[in-house]
Symmetry: C2
Subunit: 103 residues, 2 copies
């Protein structure tokens, strides 16, 4: 099945579910699913990015992100549907898992 | 010897030398040494970032950067001297080399 754009209601539901985990801090900013991850140092931050990159490449769904030393700012969006899709929430959940296994 | 903040004249000289290589597109933006690298795809872009990350970690001098799919925006600055230092120009030169070996 093709990727589908989530409705506002579906996004709300998915966001509540996503934030029911430990982190609690995914937000929708400029239509993108966003979160700032902080680690102990650059090594941990880039280790996190590498794990995410391998997953993203396998799923062919990539984050928009920036890194300054121990900090990684993530923005997720599905350009193919001009909005958010289940792929973004799947990647967000995985990122939380990956971060949790490092920090 | 401690890291030292470069003067405006030293920055100008270093920038001309840096841009005498193939790339020609390092600029000073908001006091930071900046460049946008573009690759064929995410795999190449993140491969570039990984090589840079290992070098940065070894030198203990890290880039500020963001990545969207095949694009990597880099900003270099030396927070320890509140300006640019030779470390930034060294890292910039290495990044050009790393990018050249990938693209």
């Amino acid at each position: 099945m093709a990727n589908q754009k989530l409705t506002a209601e579906e996004i709300h539901t998915a966001l509540v579910e996503l934030n029911s985990d430990a982190s609690q801090d995914w937000v929708i900013e400029d239509g993108k699913l966003s979160k700032t991850f902080k680690f102990k140092n650059f090594q941990q931050a880039f280790g996190f990015m590498t794990t995410c990159a391998l997953y993203a490449e396998r799923k062919n769904h990539h984050p928009e992100w920036s890194n300054v030393y121990n900090r990684v700012d993530v923005q997720l969006v599905s350009h193919d549907v001009s909005g958010l899709s289940v792929k973004d929430f799947d990647l967000a959940k995985k990122m939380d898992e990956f971060a949790g296994s490092i920090a």
